[in-house]
C-alpha cells in the first residue's frame, strides 16, 4: 500500500507514469469511466478548501466511484476532539482511499501511519500539497510536451509559498531547466531552495522586476504578494505594480509563454490577461482533476505502476 504525503514520495519514473496516465485519461475518458466502480473515496477536510475537495470528488466520480466525507471540522461532530489517528482508523473501514486536508503540519503523515487504506495529502497547513505540484507538472508537460530544457519564471512571494518551493524542487530533477526567481528582496526564495538548485547544477537567476526577465520565460508561475508581507509601506508602494501581470508586461513575453497560477487569484493577474492564449491557469484546474484521477487509479492499484492498463 502506498501513500502520497509529499511530492518526493514519488520517483521521477512514477511522476512520468502518472503524467502519461493522466494524458491517456484526457484523451480516452470513456475507457476509465467505470474503473473505480464500487470504490469509495473518503474526503476528510478538516478545513474548508472547496477547490481541492471538488477536484478530488469530481475525479473519483468520473472514474465511476463514490465519495463520502466531511467538508470542515465543524461539519462533523464525530470528528470533534477525535485524534487524526482514530478518525483515519475508523474511516479505513468505510472507504478504499482517502484524501486528507488538515490545518496542522504533518497531519497527513500521522494519518498514513494509522490508515488501512492509501492516504493522499490534500494539504497539511503550510507544509505540503503534493497534488498541487502534480497538477503543475502535468499542466506544463501537456502544454510544452516536456519537463526539461525549459526556462521557468516564478514571480511573487517566493519565501512563504510552499507551492513554489515544491514545484522548483520537482522541476530541478529534470535536466537543463533554468529558473528565474522574481520577487521583492524581502520575499526571496529561502536558502534551502537556492541550495537545492545549486546542488543539482541548475542555472538560476534572481531579480526584483518581472519586466526584466519575462522575455526569456517559457513558463511563468505567478503567486500573490500580500501587503502584510512587506517590511515597510515604502517598498510595498514601490514594488506592488511589479508583481501584477497585465497585457503591457506581456508585450515582451514569448508568444508561446504559459502562464500558471495555483488559484485563487486576487489581483496579481489582471482580468485582461484571461483572454490571452498564454493564460493557462483555468486549464490548470482541469489538469488538477486529471492528475488526481491518475493518482487514485495508481494508489488503488487499478492501474499498476509500470506498464499495467485498466
Amino acid at each position: 500500500m502506498r501513500h502520497v504525503i509529499e511530492p518526493t514520495d514519488l520517483s521521477i519514473n512514477e511522476l512520468d507514469e502518472l503524467i502519461a496516465l493522466a494524458e491517456d485519461i484526457r484523451l480516452n475518458p470513456v475507457k476509465y469511466a467505470d474503473c473505480c466502480k464500487g470504490k469509495i473515496l473518503a474526503a476528510l477536510f478538516y478545513e474548508a478548501s472547496t477547490r481541492t475537495r471538488l477536484s478530488f470528488e469530481s475525479a473519483m466520480l468520473s472514474l465511476g466511484g463514490s465519495v463520502i466525507g466531511f467538508a470542515s471540522a465543524d461539519a462533523s461532530s464525530a470528528v470533534k476532539g477525535e485524534s487524526v489517528a482514530d478518525t483515519v482508523r475508523t474511516v479505513s473501514n468505510y472507504a478504499d482511499i482517502c484524501a486528507i486536508r488538515h490545518p496542522k503540519e504533518g497531519s497527513a503523515l500521522v494519518a498514513s501511519q494509522y490508515s488501512g487504506i492509501p492516504v493522499i495529502n490534500a494539504g497539511d497547513g503550510g507544509h505540503e500539497h503534493p497534488t498541487q505540484t502534480l497538477t503543475d507538472l502535468l499542466t506544463i508537460h501537456t502544454i510544452k510536451r516536456t519537463l526539461s530544457g525549459l526556462t521557468i519564471g516564478f514571480c511573487g512571494d517566493l519565501k512563504f509559498g510552499r507551492t513554489v518551493h515544491s514545484l522548483v524542487k520537482a522541476l530541478s530533477l529534470y535536466p537543463n531547466n533554468r529558473f528565474l526567481l522574481v520577487s521583492p528582496n524581502e520575499l526571496r526564495a529561502p536558502d534551502y531552495i537556492r541550495a537545492t538548485l545549486a546542488n543539482r547544477g541548475c542555472e538560476y537567476q534572481e531579480g526584483e522586476l518581472l519586466d526584466t526577465h519575462i522575455r526569456h520565460m517559457d513558463v511563468l508561475y505567478m503567486t500573490r504578494v500580500q501587503r502584510e508581507r512587506f517590511f515597510n509601506e515604502e517598498d510595498y508602494l514601490r514594488l506592488k505594480d511589479s508583481y501584477i501581470l497585465n497585457m503591457a508586461k506581456l508585450v515582451n513575453a514569448k508568444s508561446d509563454l504559459s502562464i500558471l497560477h495555483p488559484l485563487p487569484r486576487v489581483n496579481e493577474i489582471s482580468m485582461e490577461v484571461d483572454g490571452d492564449p498564454r493564460a493557462q491557469y483555468f486549464n490548470q484546474v482541469r489538469f488538477g482533476k486529471l492528475i488526481r484521477m491518475a493518482l487514485i487509479l495508481k494508489l488503488l492499484e487499478i492501474v499498476e505502476w509500470r506498464g499495467g492498463r485498466c
Partner: protein, 139 residues
C-alpha cells in the same frame, strides 16, 4: 584524583563534558535510585583535559539515544564482578523518539493525543534535528 570506591556491578558513564553530569543525572532520574550514585566533577582526563563521570552501583536501563543526543562523546561502561564487561561508545542518533518535542505551534504534534515525537538528524556536524512531521528545526 579524588578516589571513589570502584564498583562491583553497575554502570560508569565516562567522558561527560565538564558541567554535563547534572543534566544527565536529571535526565536519567538518578535521584529516584536507592543505590549509591557518585558524581565526579572536573576529573582529570588526558582526552578532554577535564571531564565529568557518573558511577551508578546498579544495572539500570538507559535510553542510549537520549544520552547520545545530550553528549555524543560519552562512553558507557558496564561493570560486572568488578570488571568492565562492555564499553559503549555513543554517537548522535539518527532518530530521536520521545526525547524532545516540537515547538512549532502549527505542528500536528501540538494537538494529536499520545503522538510519538520523532526527530530526524539533519546535520550531524551542526547537531541539527528536524521534526519528522512538520520538518521544523529543533532549537
Amino acid at each position: 584524583m579524588l578516589s571513589i570506591d570502584s564498583i562491583k556491578k553497575g554502570v560508569v558513564i565516562d567522558h561527560i563534558k565538564v558541567g554535563g553530569a547534572m543534566q544527565i543525572y536529571q535526565h536519567l532520574n538518578l535521584d529516584k535510585l536507592d543505590c549509591s550514585v557518585a558524581i565526579i566533577k572536573n576529573a582529570k582526563s588526558g582526552k578532554l583535559g577535564k571531564k565529568d563521570i557518573i558511577k551508578i552501583e546498579d544495572r539500570i536501563d538507559m535510553d542510549l539515544d537520549a544520552l547520545g543526543y545530550i553528549d555524543p562523546d560519552i562512553t558507557v561502561n558496564i561493570i560486572e564482578d568488578g570488571a568492565i564487561t562492555s564499553k559503549l561508545k555513543l554517537s548522535l542518533p539518527d532518530k530521536l523518539i520521545n526525547i524532545i518535542t516540537c515547538k512549532n505551534p502549527r505542528c500536528i504534534t501540538s494537538i494529536e493525543r499520545e503522538i510519538v515525537h520523532v526527530f530526524k538528524l539533519w546535520d550531524s556536524r551542526e547537531k541539527i534535528y528536524r521534526c519528522a512531521y512538520c520538518e521544523q528545526e529543533y532549537k
